[in-house]
């Protein structure tokens, strides 16, 4: 299979998955709840109100027609209106999605910067003290309920040490004195671009705890995966050959061996990214972070279906694209991938 053929097949698969995903979210939204029209009208509706709402929402139409309308709406960016707030969902997403992405990206950055080096070193020093410590940390990392870890970190860094802020994205006084002008919607980035150092530092300080909380699971996974593939790769003949050619050990580990070991780690990072998108739901609640997670939990409590479904759809589309990107990245890193 040529590289282009591989890419084409992979793209086609992504399209099929996306269509199936839209069907499932549609079914969850329109079919599973006993009566969406009743939910729309609110408590204690009359029969007439329900019937009118059903017409208004197109619920009296056949199912396939409803699906096509739903698809048309989604593709034109019309995610509908929140039942709870009666606001267009798209407007809310524009505010909340960047907040969540900022959190998740910061967490992934931590996973890469902490997880990969620790994995490489503990794989290279198999059986060493560092290796045993890392194994413990990584297993603890994947077993920790994020929401509990978040609480513990708050207790320690805010309440006991007073080092880091408790919650939110920005201190109130900072948002009044040197407000962040939204460009991307990620405060740290926007403040940086605008050269607003006061706000940058404040936003960064607010970001550390929730991002780290979110990163524990990815860090654990990344360490474990990197370690086990490094152990295998380091037994390869080409590593011996590289050492025999005098290549310094640091280069052998972090360039020559790591590039061979990175593919499974990338897959794990991709999984982690998605895990983080949903893990962010819990972290955001704990840290009062105004993102998709807080948005969807509020929606859950008020049975606000259009919001739940829209968030599910948006995050899933992200997931599909991340996986697509990872597969293509693997093909770029390892020339043998497309041959399989």
């Amino acid at each position: 299979m040529s590289r282009w053929e591989y890419i084409a097949r992979r793209l086609l698969m992504a399209v099929v998955v996306l269509i199936s995903v839209s069907i499932i979210t549609f079914l969850i939204a329109r079919v599973v709840p006993s009566d969406p029209a009743a939910a729309w009208v609110g408590p204690r509706p009359t029969q007439e109100q329900i019937a009118q709402a059903a017409r208004q929402l197109g619920l009296d139409r056949p199912l396939y027609e409803q699906y096509l309308r739903y698809m048309r709406d989604i593709l034109t960016g019309n995610f509908g209106v929140s039942i709870r707030t009666h606001q267009p969902i798209l407007r809310d997403l524009r505010v909340f999605l960047p907040a969540t992405l900022e959190l998740v990206l910061a967490g992934m950055l931590m996973a890469v910067l902490i997880g990969i080096p620790l994995g490489v070193l503990s794989g290279a020093g198999k059986g060493s003290l560092l290796d045993h410590l890392t194994r413990l940390v990584s297993i603890a990392g994947v077993s920790m309920p994020t929401f509990w870890l978040g609480l513990l970190l708050q207790l320690f860094f805010f309440s006991r040490l007073g080092l880091l802020p408790l919650s939110g994205r920005l201190s109130t006084e900072i948002s009044l004195t040197s407000p962040v002008v939204p460009i991307t919607g990620m405060y740290t980035l926007d403040a940086l671009v605008a050269g607003n150092w006061v706000a940058f530092k404040d936003a960064l300080w607010h970001l550390i705890l929730p991002a780290f909380t979110l990163a524990t699971y990815p860090i654990g996974l990344t360490i474990r995966m990197t370690r086990s593939t490094m152990i295998e790769v380091l037994q390869e003949k080409y590593i011996l050959a590289a050492r025999a050619a005098g290549i310094p050990e640091r280069t052998v580990l972090f360039v020559l061996a790591l590039k061979n070991a990175i593919t499974p780690t990338l897959t794990v990072l991709g999984l982690s990214f998605v895990y983080s998108l949903t893990g962010a739901i819990l972290v955001e609640v704990i840290f009062a972070w105004p993102g998709l997670g807080s948005y969807v939990t509020d929606a859950v409590l008020s049975v606000d279906f259009p919001v739940i479904v829209s968030v599910t759809l948006v995050v899933t589309v992200f997931y599909v694209f991340i996986n697509l990107f990872l597969d293509l990245a693997q093909a770029a890193i390892d020339p043998r991938v497309t041959l399989q």
Partner: protein
């Protein structure tokens, strides 16, 4: 001749595979003392949940009766883990909470295995169009972020213990279908399967008698590790407000109601979090130890 095929011609390890899993467990315990500790922790929590009414002097509080006079008592002699915002004994709540939190973990994995094994075996054994169809369905399910899909389904079905369980299991089975399919594919080509087929043994019998016993080891390893994650997911679902209804005790719910008091009175949300952490950690360590003895590839990497 259908069901009664003479199996004496098979290699010994295939015939005895029904008992192999037990042997693996024992081997794991011998090699890894941490696995024994993990099993003890798990057993303690399970027994604690089962015998909760006899273990605590406050079974009514464990079931949810408030006791406002004693609210926010810090840990002490009468209440070893303190009391919560309604004055209920936290230890009693943890013991009773184990009933829903642990059973959701076990049940989710059991349902997922029960759906995943037949689908995976059929896909792997028959191949072709059936295989393609089943695998594309798993692709679609795996395309969803698991927790979010579970939340969406649980929200659609309405908040309850059963619905939360169904929702999580619904997002979990594709992993087992894939695992079993991959194993079946490799077994299908083996001589003893071909031999059985040539002797006219029905497909059903081959799958049940010859293939399934041989896929149990990887399924067992995966399931052990998954119970921990399923408990975590269950806790997360009730944390966001789905799952069991108050006043039923549940670890996830205990954290979500306790978190607003956490900075001042960390003991009740803290205890629930510690319970989830300990149980999940134990299942992960146990699964790790079993995998190390079951899978020669990692065994080489470990030893």
């Amino acid at each position: 001749m259908t069901a009664s095929v003479d199996l004496t011609g098979l290699p010994a390890d295939i015939r005895t595979s029904r008992y192999k899993e037990v042997g693996l467990m024992l081997q794991a315990f011998r090699r890894d003392p941490l696995a024994v500790v993990s099993l003890v922790v798990i057993l303690l929590f399970v027994l604690g949940a089962v015998f909760a009414p006899w273990l605590t002097p406050y079974p009514d509080q464990g079931l949810g009766n408030p006791n406002i006079i004693e609210k926010f008592q810090p840990p002490g002699p009468t209440h070893p883990l303190g009391t919560d915002y309604l004055g209920r004994d936290v230890l009693a709540r943890i013991l009773y909470g184990g009933r829903s939190s642990l059973s959701i973990g076990f049940l989710v994995v059991i349902i997922a295995v029960a759906i995943g094994i037949p689908l995976g075996a059929v896909a792997g054994y028959y191949g072709g169009r059936i295989d393609n169809l089943i695998m594309r369905i798993t692709d679609v399910f795996l395309a969803f972020p698991p927790l979010l899909l579970a939340i969406a389904i649980a929200a659609a079905l309405g908040s309850s213990f059963i619905n939360a369980m169904i929702a999580i299991a619904f997002t979990w089975w594709p992993w087992y279908a894939r695992l079993v399919r991959a194993q079946t594919l490799s077994l299908r080509e083996l001589h003893f399967v071909e031999a059985a087929r040539s002797m006219g043994v029905s497909d059903f019998t081959i799958i049940v008698q010859h293939i399934l016993p041989n896929v149990m080891t990887p399924v067992l390893v995966q399931a052990t590790m998954d119970i921990g994650s399923a408990i975590l997911t269950g806790a997360a679902i009730s944390f966001v407000g789905l799952g069991v209804h108050p006043p039923t005790a549940d670890w996830g719910k205990m954290i979500s109601t306790g978190r607003i008091y956490f900075i001042e009175r960390p003991w009740f949300a803290g205890s629930a979090g510690a319970a989830i952490f300990l149980v999940t950690l134990s299942f992960n360590l146990l699964g790790d130890a079993i995998r190390d003895v079951a899978d020669p590839r990692t065994r080489r990497a470990v030893s």
